[in-house]
């Protein structure tokens, strides 16, 4: 007998596709924009796009909103206000909704932070990546360390929670370099730190012209010592690359990792929706290129597809196993509509490999080793 799907929390992702220039490591859907961005036009399109997706809401309030990019901080305060007002007219917000906006730490951007806050943004995520000039240059970043520091103080003053994005394993980075970056970030007192290792992705400049990255042993030392440093500073790791002060986890990302639902609007945005009536799970993808997206003769939707029964366990665990919290077979059943008994062998294998641990009947968790060997762990469910 099929198990009925339950409706998880609903988030909204808004993609802003423009950047001043493309970074060599970035594989996101971003386009270098010369001159003014067509924001008035784009805002109208975003809300039109959202209108088409309203059937997916199914009576839910919005749990979180995330402006990602590209560089959302290129938008004016007014544009952000218009978007958020438009969204609120269409979908009710939960009382404690989290609204994050990704920002570059440039002068032009941080001067807008208080305006963004007035528009409703209550969390700013600053893409610092490093505080060392040579590293920033290698990463193709256009800001410097002072700007990053100022941006952090502006964020602290305008919204109560902010995140710093920091990378490690950068070209020619030593253990000391990485620790210095981390200490600097901690000193700015963010509520959240996304600290992730640089990975060379296909379709990036780094992929075709690979930089010289630190040795495995150095990377390991960076990770071990960095983790300790963060712990001492009161940051708790709750996901492979995400650390936060107690109570400041990113609700939006957590919803992804808990296999929640999300609408995606804007160029190339992805959505994932549970359809209770149809007892189905779908994924959506919007038209990627701004030109095609803003073409009035074409639909926003590029494609939509079902998450097939066979793919559901993998997609569920691919997300869920990234976070350091237990998973319950009950929730698995509700969120995938599948009988959890199909997992038995795989879970046992995971336990055998000491990547998973059983807490009690129907309750399991990724081990510390499972976090390190996440790829091998999710492999079991593929």
């Amino acid at each position: 007998m099929p198990i009925s799907l339950a409706l998880p929390p609903l988030s909204l992702y808004i993609h802003i596709p423009w950047c001043v220039q493309k970074c060599p490591y970035c594989d996101f859907n971003s386009h270098a924009q010369k001159g003014e961005i067509p924001e008035t036009e784009y805002v109208a399109h975003l809300l039109d796009d959202l209108d088409q997706d309203l059937t997916y809401v199914q009576g839910r309030k919005l749990h979180s909103i995330f402006f990602g990019g590209g560089t959302p901080s290129l938008l004016s305060e007014q544009a952000v206000a218009n978007i958020l007002d438009g969204v609120k007219q269409r979908i009710e917000f939960e009382d404690d909704i989290e609204i994050t906006l990704e920002a570059n730490p440039g002068t032009l951007e941080y001067n807008k932070f208080s305006g963004f806050a007035e528009a409703g943004v209550n969390r700013i995520s600053i893409g610092v990546q490093s505080f060392q000039l040579d590293k920033l240059k290698a990463l193709g970043r256009i800001h410097n360390d002072d700007e990053a520091k100022t941006a952090a103080s502006y964020a602290a003053n305008s919204v109560n929670t902010f995140n710093i994005d920091l990378m490690h394993g950068l070209p020619d980075q030593s253990l000391e370099d990485a620790m210095s970056d981390l200490k600097q970030a901690i000193a700015l007192n963010p509520t959240h730190l996304s600290w992730y290792q640089l990975t060379i992705e296909p379709n990036t400049l780094f992929y075709s012209q690979p930089p010289k990255l630190p040795q495995d042993e150095t990377l390991w030392d960076i990770q071990q010592q960095g983790h300790e440093l963060l712990k001492e500073a009161g940051f708790v790791q709750y996901e492979i690359s995400a650390y936060s002060k107690a109570g400041y986890q990113c609700k939006h990302n957590l919803n992804y990792w808990r296999f929640g639902d999300y609408l995606g609007i804007g160029c190339g945005a992805h959505g994932k929706i549970t359809q209770v009536a149809e007892n189905n799970i779908i994924r959506t993808e919007k038209v990627k290129h701004p030109k095609g997206y803003m073409d009035l003769t074409k639909p926003y939707l590029n494609k939509v597809w079902d998450v097939e029964i066979d793919d559901r366990p993998f997609e569920y665990f691919m997300n869920k196993l990234r976070i350091k919290e237990p998973f319950y077979l009950d929730y698995f059943q509700q969120l995938t509509g599948l009988d959890a008994r199909i997992l038995e062998d795989k879970i046992n294998r995971g336990i055998e490999l000491t990547l998973l641990t059983k807490i009690s009947d129907g309750k399991y968790q990724t081990t510390a080793k499972g976090i390190q060997f996440y790829n091998d762990l999710v492999d079991l469910f593929l």
Binding site: Y13, W220, I371
Partner: protein, 596 residues
């Protein structure tokens, strides 16, 4: 019949045999210019890619000679690599003559010499042709002298040509007509036809290349395969021009194909004799000597589901390749597969490549070995062709390894290098003589050393000038031991090797080091040990991987990251699980990669 000429070309690789063949075909208008693909006779993709001939093939050409008569020239192509000597002798059995094509700049090569002797023993008329005469380094006088000196045939009036430019092509054709004798045979006698080669064609069934000795065979006849006694109706007979062309009849002296709806791949064995079903007492023609493989290796399908199709593929391939030997083998590491015997390393590579390409199989090959004779203490002799068959050390009284006689021709300046190499390979010099600029040197060498990388090493140490021919002569006592590889304490049967005790220490060390390079780091340390019996001769460790984790995965990343993980999983699938350790396919051939 007096206007038929059957001939082969004996030539060393790169001495221009294929180009010359193409020229002859073109001259006799066997193919329109637009049909001339590069090297028409090498029809297998592998042959064209590697620039070598593996299988015998024939082409029938009509040539109007200067005497005004039209001659039917049947040219049977032969392979040129040392591994395929056996195929050469089959081709020669269909001919009355052979062209010895020698590069006028380079001179005679060892293997050409060996093939020439085979032709002379078979009473063929051997005609020397000096090719590449257009090149500035061509030295026809010296090369003629060398041919006379080393091979002992008359080369004074040898035809000089350049297959590349077309100079002297007609002279070659005239030489064939004038000097190669016509076939002898009796059209009125009962049919006797020799199967030179058979291959399986998915649309036509078994196609056999035959040389008719006596009588004739027509479409519609009922033929009989002498060894099996099976009868079949002839569907098609004809010649290759080089396109397959039906003629309805093949007569005494001619070379062509027969298709008789034979579905069983062993229904028309190479070397067998074909006659007509109503001919009662016909003698079989002298067939071919059954050749013994020199190198053995295990071949295993990567996926055990492919075992059945692998067996079928080997069955089909062995029809075209009588020298391929196989029998089932089971390995604890690799599952079910076949132990296969090959003529040499190139043969092995080609068989694996053909199986993978033509039959769409994904195979793992284990390290090649030769066969050994083992005398156990109870007085029995065991012939083994796999390290895993080696009896326990305590039971062995004596190990005997195969020894071959290697004939090498090398320009004087590289003689020192060649001698050094032969000594390193445990060789004993048996003869040496000087022929102009070249030196003929013979060694008794352990077959195990020759079949591995000797040929490649010989080529590189002599800048490509040394050439080699070798033949098994005898088994001889040797202090051979089996070196086992343990991964985390578990013996991996497919990684074992047999080698001389003097080399066991160093090779065990090199093998362990090579494995360390080839085995990817995993979630735990992997201890690699090389042992003889219980005695550890080398050990090393593949340090554990610290982590294997996708750093970032958000809502929009699902599809991309999923692809990445899928790719990683596919990569793992191609690995073989031995205990907890995942071994890449390369690891099983690590022994061949030592020192490279």
């Amino acid at each position: 019949m007096k206007n038929i000429r059957n001939f082969s070309i004996i030539a060393h690789i790169d001495h221009g045999k294929s180009t010359l063949s193409d020229r002859l075909i073109q001259f006799c208008e066997g193919l329109a210019d637009r049909e001339m693909k590069a090297q028409v006779l090498d029809s297998m993709d592998i042959e064209r890619e590697r620039g070598i001939t593996i299988k015998a093939q024939s082409v029938t050409l009509n040539y109007k000679a200067k005497d005004g008569e039209i001659y039917q020239l049947n040219f049977i192509d032969t392979p040129g690599h040392v591994d395929f000597t056996y195929e050469v002798s089959r081709s020669l059995a269909a001919c009355e003559g052979a062209l010895l094509v020698v590069d006028a700049g380079q001179g005679v090569e060892a293997q050409t010499v060996a093939n020439c002797y085979t032709a002379i023993e078979m009473n063929l008329e051997v005609r020397a042709i000096l090719n590449k005469i257009d090149l500035p380094q061509a030295d026809p006088d010296r090369v003629s002298e060398e041919i006379e000196d080393i091979i002992g045939i008359d080369a004074v009036g040898a035809v000089q040509c350049s297959a590349k430019t077309g100079i002297g092509i007609q002279d070659v054709l005239e030489d064939i007509v004038l000097h190669i004798p016509p076939p002898e045979g009796d059209l009125d006698k009962p049919l006797q036809a020799l199967i030179i080669d058979s291959w399986f064609d998915p649309y036509q069934g078994v196609v056999s290349l035959v040389r008719v000795k006596h009588g004739s065979i027509r479409k519609g006849d009922k033929l009989k395969i002498l060894s099996t006694g099976d009868s079949h109706q002839v569907d098609k007979v004809g010649i290759f021009t080089p396109k397959q062309t039906d003629t309805g009849i093949l007569k005494a002296g001619e070379v062509g194909f027969i298709i008789a709806g034979i579905k069983e791949i062993l229904g028309a064995p190479v070397g067998d004799t074909i006659t007509l079903a109503n001919n009662a007492a016909v003698e079989p023609l002298p067939g071919f000597q059954k050749i013994k493989p020199q190198v053995y290796a295990g071949l295993f399908p990567v996926s055990s589901d492919d075992y059945e199709s692998f067996r079928d593929a080997l069955g089909k391939l062995s029809l075209n390749d009588a020298s391929l030997f196989y029998e089932p083998e089971s390995s604890s590491a690799l599952g079910l597969g076949f132990r296969c015997g090959f003529l040499g390393m190139l043969h092995m590579e080609i068989v694996q490549e053909r199986l993978e390409r033509e039959y769409d199989l994904d195979l793992i090959t284990t390290a090649p070995t030769v066969n050994y004779e083992i005398l156990t203490k109870d007085g029995t002799i065991h012939s083994i062709d796999s390290p895993s068959e080696m009896p326990a050390v305590n039971d062995i009284a004596e190990v005997r390894e195969p020894i071959c006689k290697a004939d090498i021709l090398v320009p004087q300046e590289y003689l020192g290098n060649v001698i050094t190499l032969c000594m390193e390979k445990r060789g004993t010099q048996t003869a040496m003589s000087y022929h102009g600029k070249q030196v003929a040197v013979s060694y008794d060498l352990p077959m195990a050393e020759v079949v591995m990388d000797f040929f490649d090493r010989l080529k590189s140490t002599s800048r490509g000038f040394a050439s080699l021919d070798y033949n098994f002569t005898r088994f001889q006592e040797a202090d051979m031991v089996r070196v086992d590889i343990l991964l985390n304490g578990e013996r991996v049967d497919a990684l074992a090797m047999i080698c001389h005790r003097d080399f066991s220490q160093s090779r065990g060390r090199l093998l362990a080091d090579k494995l360390k390079e080839l085995i990817p780091r995993q979630m735990f340390d992997i201890a690699i040990q090389a042992v003889i019996g219980v005695h550890i001769i080398a050990r090393t460790t593949v340090k554990q991987l610290r982590k294997n984790v996708i750093a970032k995965c958000y809502g929009g990343d699902i599809s991309r990251k999923k692809k990445l993980l899928q790719k990683q999983k596919d990569g793992k699938k191609r690995m073989k699980q031995v205990g907890n350790v995942e071994l890449p396919q390369d690891a099983f051939l690590a022994i061949l990669k030592i020192g490279k």
